[in-house]
Symmetry: C2
Subunit: 122 residues, 2 copies
């Protein structure tokens, strides 16, 4: 199956559902790193806020109001999400605007599907 | 949409993709707990080994050979997975047999899908 994605971490992770065959150590390590990054309530909420924000992107200025967390704490969580490959950030003027990397979420989603359905959504 | 599942944690988590609307604090906490449980390489490999094992179930005796981990360490990881609701265990004779709760994995998978596709597989 050809894929027209840009190169990225999700290429390494793609596309073997964990229910079809045993994960190798390397793939398990990479996947676990991403699941761990989203396995934190504030980060999961940030991810959701960014994804569902108008236009699919949000700056820290859009996010601070939704939490009782300091700006630096939010910035830390955003850095973890970014390093895990689930969001991208782009500086425009004063702010960095964040956007969810849907291709990475699609990989994670596909990995968790039953073996029969284990094709990563395009 | 009527669902004929047995009651379980996945009913609480179901069915709002995080990309459609901001997750509430409670749902984010529950989901993060499960993602954190699978966000560890050995646990992810165990989950995959169980899921892909013949008959869809495995005992500790089937799992110990695949890792350089002690029996107690494997048992600890299995306990974490079980408490997170991603596997079930059933004692039969000497061994506890573990099976993946596919309904929970389907919930996690559905949460990560793009908003347009965000219906949890039945």
């Amino acid at each position: 199956m050809s894929k027209q994605q840009e190169p990225g971490d999700e290429q390494v992770l793609c596309c073997s559902p964990l229910m079809r065959e045993p994960l190798g150590a390397e793939q398990a390590g990479e996947l676990a790193r991403v699941f761990k990054a989203i396995g934190e309530p504030a980060r999961l909420r940030l991810l959701s806020l960014i994804a569902s924000h108008a236009g699919g992107e949000a700056c820290v200025c859009d996010l601070t109001g939704a939490f009782e967390l300091s700006g630096p704490t939010i910035s830390h969580h955003l850095k973890v999400l970014r390093e895990a490959g689930v969001i991208d950030g782009e500086r425009r003027g004063t702010w960095v605007y964040y956007r969810v990397r849907t291709e990475m979420l699609a990989v994670l989603s596909g990995v968790l599907l039953p073996a029969d359905d284990g094709v990563v959504p395009a």
